[in-house]
């Protein structure tokens, strides 16, 4: 059951973590207000009874699309790394994980 309460700053902090966005205090305040307003407007869709309506995720009726299991062209290692912010010995370099 969805609570009808407006979105709180705590919600915004939780969603920002899920979205991997570091927000400033000012942004948290602003998004709490703005998202609240947008969601209030979007909440209009709850007015309609859709219990018998199927969802549309895609407009064109498509079955699974298969292709032959054959290797095609692919990027070279050099190309794949060409835009990497940091790289070392032919690999993407990231901060220490373990």
């Amino acid at each position: 059951m969805v609570s009808e309460k407006a979105i709180t700053k705590k919600d915004v902090e939780h969603v920002a973590l899920l979205a991997r966005l570091a927000l400033t205090e000012e942004e948290k305040e602003r998004f709490t207000k703005q998202l609240g307003k947008i969601l209030e407007h979007a909440g209009k869709i709850k007015e309609i009874d859709t219990s018998k309506v199927p969802p549309t995720s895609h407009i064109v009726p498509l079955d699974n699309v298969f292709r032959e299991d054959k290797a095609g062209e692919c990027l070279s290692q050099e190309e794949a790394l060409s835009n990497a912010p940091e790289k070392e010995e032919g690999a993407f370099l990231v901060p220490k994980i373990v």
């Binding site: 969805v2 979105i7 919600d11 915004v12 939780h14 969603v15 920002a16 973590l17 899920l18 979205a19 991997r20 966005l21 570091a22 927000l23 942004e27 998004f31 703005q34 998202l35 307003k37 947008i38 969601l39 407007h41 979007a42 909440g43 209009k44 869709i45 709850k46 007015e47 309609i48 859709t50 309506v53 199927p54 969802p55 549309t56 995720s57 895609h58 407009i59 064109v60 498509l62 699309v65 292709r67 990027l75 190309e79 794949a80 060409s82 835009n83 990497a84 912010p85 940091e86 993407f92 990231v94 901060p95 220490k96 994980i97």
Partner: protein, 486 residues
């Protein structure tokens, strides 16, 4: 008339008779760019050197009797969210400000194969999220008709470039109106094809179930020619559809006698500027005089479309934009970080602008545990109702008319701080995306010197009827105005 102001089909005729060369056309366009680009700022990147070399090559081929394609040697601007091998592709975002693709998108390859010559990459709202081009990391493009107003968005750079003569034709992309709305505000022609007609491979993803690439041109004939060049199934986009591509040139018949044309009731009421309504009514009269039967049609669920869209599109965007993590490409924070998550969070906070952050937040919220059914699930059911509304309307008519944009171009800054107001700019175009239908915007008048766009909507994959209806109107109405930039 200057070459840069001519449509492609006219330039092609002049090339065929030997009056002009591809190099002269390119020179005219780049001279124009030099003159007006400081005022309009339509481009993020210009590729003049490459274009000049390609134009010379094109002329050499033409001399040998090669290069007979209908757009061979024509200068084309490409929205900066389509991957161009070796040429900066920024999406007008700080997070991609240094991104140089290592491959061409399918549509980019197709226009290149057709002999079109890229002039450069045009400005957009960051990641195509916006209706004014104001959210671009590189600053706002200006409307050539009035430099104090926005060109619309998100394909504002492409529309402004075509309107200002800084390109003969352009490619845009449309998720909720991003081709049609700027085309309307800039007084040019813009078509969003049926979802699945044009490959999305190499188009930087915003909302994958809605995004489509399409032409922005000076007239309907050019629109048909450019659509021909880009349409078709692509094995690299599994959502592109395997259908026979018709000869769109055959749609260019100025005859709508006996055709049934619908006028959308819901889009002629509240919230639509009076001058826009008047221009649409005049357009209806033009069709009526040409012998079309006008029937009022209704989309009972249209009032829910905007809400559904602003849940579906941000939800898909929040998922698509998860890839910008500072690892494989794009910006990475230079601040000291504790761990991976800290690196992601700082990178994304620095790289994305306000509107993109807002939509990522909104989409993540709509998809998060406890809210999914109420927001995203419900929005997808509303989408079904809108599809059904259109199906019922198209039982009665062959094409549907509405305004493209509720207003003419608004002032820069006017809606920038009010996201909801900005979102309302797309109220006439969004239902068409949700239903996946083809829609075109063509100029149908001026109000206070600012263009008004007429939207013509068709059945799925019936671009032929959309183009024919648009062509008939264009021939009868004859919008010849150009912005006075000089």
């Amino acid at each position: 008339m200057e070459l840069f102001n001519q449509p492609a089909h006219e330039l092609k005729r002049m090339m065929d008779t030997g009056e002009i060369s591809a190099f002269e056309i390119a020179k005219s366009v780049f001279k124009r760019i030099e003159m007006v680009e400081p005022k309009v700022e339509a481009y993020v990147t210009l590729t003049e050197g490459q274009a000049a070399a390609q134009a010379k090559e094109a002329d050499a081929k033409i001399k040998k009797g090669e290069g007979r394609g209908s757009l061979f040697g024509i200068p084309l601007a490409i929205k900066d969210n389509m991957c161009t091998k070796g040429v900066l592709t920024t999406c007008s975002s700080g997070i991609l400000k240094n991104f140089i693709p290592v491959y061409d998108g399918t549509v980019v390859r197709k226009v290149s194969d057709a002999g079109l010559i890229m002039t450069g990459k045009t400005n957009l709202d960051e990641f195509a999220m916006g209706s004014s081009t104001e959210t671009s990391f590189f600053g706002t493009t200006r409307n050539p008709w009035d430099l104090e107003t926005v060109p619309g968005g998100s394909s504002g750079g492409s529309a402004a470039a075509v309107a200002a003569g800084e390109a003969i034709m352009a490619l845009g992309s449309d998720t909720g109106g991003s081709i049609r709305q700027p085309a309307a505000l800039c007084g040019v022609v813009g078509l969003k094809p049926t979802y699945g007609l044009v490959s999305r491979y190499g188009l930087v993803a915003f909302a994958s179930s809605l995004d489509q690439i399409g032409p922005i041109t000076k007239d309907v004939t050019d629109c048909a020619l450019l659509l021909q060049a880009i349409a078709g199934q692509d094995e690299r986009d599994s959502t592109s559809v395997d259908i026979n591509i018709p000869d769109y040139n055959k749609a260019l018949v100025a005859d709508v006698k006996g055709m049934k044309i619908g006028l959308l009731k819901e889009m002629m009421g509240e919230g639509i500027q009076d001058e826009v309504k008047t221009a649409i009514k005049n357009a209806v009269d033009v069709f009526s005089k040409m012998g079309a039967e006008i029937i009022e049609v209704s989309l009972p669920h249209a009032e829910y479309a905007l809400s559904a869209y602003y849940l579906i599109a941000p939800a898909e965007a929040s998922s698509n934009l998860a890839r910008y993590d500072g690892v494989r490409y794009g910006h990475r924070t230079s601040e000291k970080v504790k761990d991976m998550i800290d690196m992601y969070m700082k990178t994304r906070a620095e790289g994305f602008g306000n509107e993109v952050k807002r939509r990522i937040m909104l989409g993540t919220y709509a998809l998060s545990a406890g809210y999914y059914e109420a927001y995203y699930g419900q929005a997808q059911k509303i989408r079904t109702l809108i599809v059904q509304d259109f199906e019922k309307a198209f039982d009665k008519v062959d094409a549907i008319l509405s305004p493209t944009s509720p207003t003419t171009a608004f002032k820069i800054g006017e809606k920038f701080e009010n996201p909801l107001q900005m979102y309302l700019s797309d109220i006439c175009t969004i239902p068409v995306n949700l239903a996946g239908l083809p829609g075109i915007s063509i100029p149908c008048g001026l109000s206070d010197g600012l263009p008004i766009g007429l939207q013509i909507i068709g059945k799925p994959f019936d671009e032929m009827t959309v183009l024919r209806t648009a062509y008939a109107f264009e021939q009868a109405y004859g919008f010849k105005e150009r912005p006075k930039l000089d």
